[in-house]
């Protein structure tokens, strides 16, 4: 009896409302679900790829552990060249993109040009890597735009020369393609950071103070802004470096064919008819993992070294480093970069409508819509797949992201640094290293659900971008709206659906457009997870780029760019008509 009365005395007198409980429970579980969703497939995929490297592949009747795979790998002719190509092209392109980004920021920091450059480069972001590679390939090919523009009046070429681009053995084409694609990305991320209201204002004021103290604008940027800006750029830069060293689409379209980069070679080995090559491929994947990890460590180490070496420089009072000279160089560089990008896009468009176009004419002699018409007839299935996969993946990604961000606010605790790091996980681990394993696991579970498998795999790559895009807008919501709504009796669920979401309509659409763009551009995940059964615009484009007519390639590349663009246009237009916010 005393036990019962004790219990009654000790128990709380109120029970939480049932429906609010369900929503809150769902929200509370979301971060853990997100973590599981990101970590398990990547780790699981890694393990499934790496085990065969050590000889454990029951499917091939190898069950003894050993270093057989590595021996095969080491004996591959030209392995050193492949490794050097991967490492070199990755590191050089990232360094170039990073340096030019900094120079552009420093030279144009106070000038209205920065805004103009931002608006010019923003649409470039949504171009998938494959389309960008195709465009760049057309630009530097022997009969491409550049040689046409300088022939025959400058170069004296009447016929297309034997050129080494784009499939040159030194990877210069790869470096060019990667740099042109990653430069806008890094620049726009930096501008996004600077656009944050408090941080941006503080940094601009500090830049002004440095100017007043006698520092020329470029020096002021490097000595005052960069130290505060860099930590916020670190993860995106590492993601760029990881991608550049392990990407498949770029080297496949722009790189040499006989001795490709390591990632491309691994892909060929995995796809080879001889199943025993899988062991070698797994060993190769481990090597790729080590290489990318090594590059990331090298970058972080380099960061520390520069910090140590140059910390004295910050306060030595030196104000002029030939600022005017560097400003001119940067202007020239910027013009070159934008010129290259525009030229490759123009070239692409012209190829897609070109009839007869003999070298060295700069413009096609005939224009025709035939290519578009025939491509569009064949495109229906891939187009449908692309859209379906994109929409389902993005929908999932948005829902999970919103729930996780809501949980952050309901628990009043910001997300741990661990979670923020894990968000980047699929972007930092080379996809060639875990995708094959993941696909193998998916086949184990269910090998008929190709669509589901593809969506699941796409989700891994779409989630980080959708999350990063939505997070800043969500966190900037005035918490007082939620407090007021609660004081008026609204449950957390109602607050979420009727107060927060409508306010976030525009950011949600932008994040959705971004997610769609990422999904539309995926190559390897679609190819592998779908078992080759699901064709999307991107998979078709890559296949065509290495084989068929240039004109059909161009049409597919343009489709690849048009689809995300439509998404962004919708994201821009719809908020003007629905859920109009007070700002408009």
């Amino acid at each position: 009896m005393s036990v019962v009365s004790n219990k009654l005395a000790a128990s709380p007198t109120l029970k939480p409302h049932k429906s609010a409980d369900m929503f809150s429970k769902l929200v509370k579980l979301s971060p853990r679900f997100l973590l599981a969703l990101l970590i398990l497939p990547v780790i699981g995929g890694l393990i499934s790829v790496l085990l065969p490297a050590f000889g454990y592949a029951p499917v091939l009747e190898h069950t003894t552990l050993g270093l057989h795979g590595f021996t095969m790998l080491m004996q591959t002719p030209g392995l050193t060249h492949m490794v050097m190509l991967s490492v070199g092209s990755g590191l050089i392109s990232t360094l170039l993109a990073f340096t030019i980004t900094l120079m552009i920021l420093a030279a144009f920091f106070n000038s209205p040009w920065l805004n103009r450059i931002q608006r010019l480069l923003s649409p470039i972001l949504v171009i998938p890597h494959a389309a960008a590679a195709i465009a760049v390939g057309f630009l530097i090919a022997p009969s491409g735009m550049i040689s046409r523009l300088v022939s025959p009046w400058f170069s004296g070429w009447e016929l297309a020369p034997n050129g080494m681009f784009p499939h040159d053995a030194f990877g210069i084409s790869i470096i060019l393609g990667l740099t042109l694609k990653e430069l806008p990305f890094l620049l726009l991320i930096a501008l996004g950071v600077l656009a944050q209201p408090e941080l941006g204002k503080k940094l601009r004021q500090q830049h002004k103070v440095a100017l007043n103290l006698g520092y020329c604008p470029m020096t002021a940027f490097f000595k005052v802004i960069l130290p505060s800006l860099y930590p916020l750029l670190r993860l995106p830069i590492l993601a760029v470096l990881a991608y550049a060293s392990a990407s498949v689409e770029m080297p496949l379209i722009l790189g040499p064919n006989t001795l490709p980069t390591l990632a491309v070679a691994i892909m060929h080995w995995f796809n080879d008819v001889d199943l025993n090559l899988r062991i070698k491929a797994s060993a190769g994947a481990l090597l790729q993992l080590v290489l990318t990890g090594g590059l990331l460590a090298l970058w972080l180490g380099g960061e520390k070294a520069i910090k140590a070496l140059f910390s004295d420089l910050l306060t030595n009072g030196e104000r002029e480093y030939g600022g005017v000279y560097w400003q001119k160089i940067t202007t020239v560089l910027t013009v070159f970069v934008i010129g290259f990008i525009l030229l490759s896009l123009i070239g692409l468009i012209m190829w897609s409508v070109a009839g007869f176009w003999r070298f060295p004419a700069a413009l096609p002699e005939q224009l025709t819509l035939l290519h578009f018409k025939s491509a569009l007839m064949q495109m229906q299935n891939p187009l449908f797949n692309t859209l379906a996969i994109g929409l389902v993946t993005t929908l999932f990604a948005i829902i999970i992201t919103l729930l996780c961000l809501e949980s952050e606010q309901l628990s009043a605790k910001p997300m741990s640094r661990f979670t923020s790091l894990i968000i980047y996980l699929p972007l930092l681990v080379p996809s060639i290293a875990f995708l094959f394993g993941l696909v193998w696991l998916q086949q184990l579970v269910n090998n008929q659900a190709a669509f589901f498998n593809v969506v699941f795999t796409h989700l891994l790559f779409v989630l980080p971008y959708v999350f990063l895009s939505l997070a800043s807008s969500y966190r900037r919501l005035d918490p007082r709206f939620a407090h007021v709504a609660a004081s008026l009796g609204a449950t957390p669920c109602k607050v979420f659906l009727q107060v927060k979401l409508p306010q976030l309509f525009a950011p949600i659409l932008i994040a959705a457009a971004l997610g769609l763009a990422i999904s539309f551009g995926q190559y390897l995940p679609t190819l592998l997870a779908g078992g080759g059964r699901i064709a999307t615009i991107t998979t078709e484009a890559v296949t065509l780029a290495n084989g068929a007519s240039r004109r059909t390639s161009a049409v597919y590349a343009i489709m690849q760019m048009a689809l995300p663009l439509i998404g962004f246009i919708l994201a821009w237009v719809l908020p003007k008509y629905f859920f109009k916010s007070a700002h408009r």
Partner: protein, 212 residues
């Protein structure tokens, strides 16, 4: 030659609407006080003087510093020091780092000695290695003052520099700033809302009116 800051026939426009018109000379050691309601162009005047006028504003007139026309000089070559409302100390540098940043090039040891000496004079002895975010508002204001003074400016502009300080701190910091201005005989222009600031400055007072 005595130092002086001259504003010759300055007409300031915001989007083609005239904000103010000014013709003044400030001698070394004197403080010109400019007062007026928000939107009357006080901060824009200071921006024009330092060469950092934002887009949307335009101006006629000339700035003459110590007998030289500095109108065509870019902002970083004008040698005009500014103190703002916020101390705006660089958070990636320590206190001594902030001050060293402002000083001209020189022997490292000498610069450090100079910094230590300066910190002691304003009552911040031993704080050279502190992080600026850990200082109180008044301490930050004093470090900002040192940073500006040790950059050896030829003129000083004050943009409501005491408005974020509480009353007693305000009086003390104001005295410190003004005594330094008088000691170094630098021409100074101060923008403020506070009449007691104007009285303590003991110089000419100009009141701007809102543009009609």
């Amino acid at each position: 030659m005595q130092s002086s800051l001259e504003i010759k026939n300055c007409e300031l426009y915001r989007q083609n609407q005239q904000l103010l018109s000014l013709n003044e000379q400030v001698k070394g050691g004197e403080i010109l006080t400019v007062m007026g309601p928000s939107g009357s162009g006080k901060s824009s005047l200071l921006n024009w003087l330092t060469g950092t006028l934002p887009s949307g504003f335009s101006a006629n007139g000339e700035v003459w510093l110590n007998g030289e026309n500095i109108n065509n000089l870019p902002a970083h070559l004008r040698h005009i020091g500014v103190l703002y409302q916020d101390a705006l100390l660089f958070s990636h540098l320590s206190v001594s780092g902030n001050i060293a940043f402002a000083m001209p090039k020189g022997n490292k040891k000498q610069r450090l000695e100079k910094i230590e000496h300066a910190l002691e004079q304003v009552g911040l002895k031993g704080m050279a290695n502190r992080h600026p975010d850990n200082l109180s508002g008044g301490q930050q204001a004093r470090v900002a003052l040192l940073r500006m003074l040790l950059s050896e400016p030829k003129a000083i502009l004050l943009d409501e520099p005491f408005s974020k300080l509480d009353t007693q701190l305000r009086v003390d910091t104001r005295e410190l700033v003004f005594s330094q201005i008088r000691e170094h005989k630098l021409p100074a222009i101060m923008v403020t809302h506070d009449h007691s600031d104007a009285e303590a400055a003991n110089g000419k007072l100009i009141t701007l009116n809102l543009a009609k």
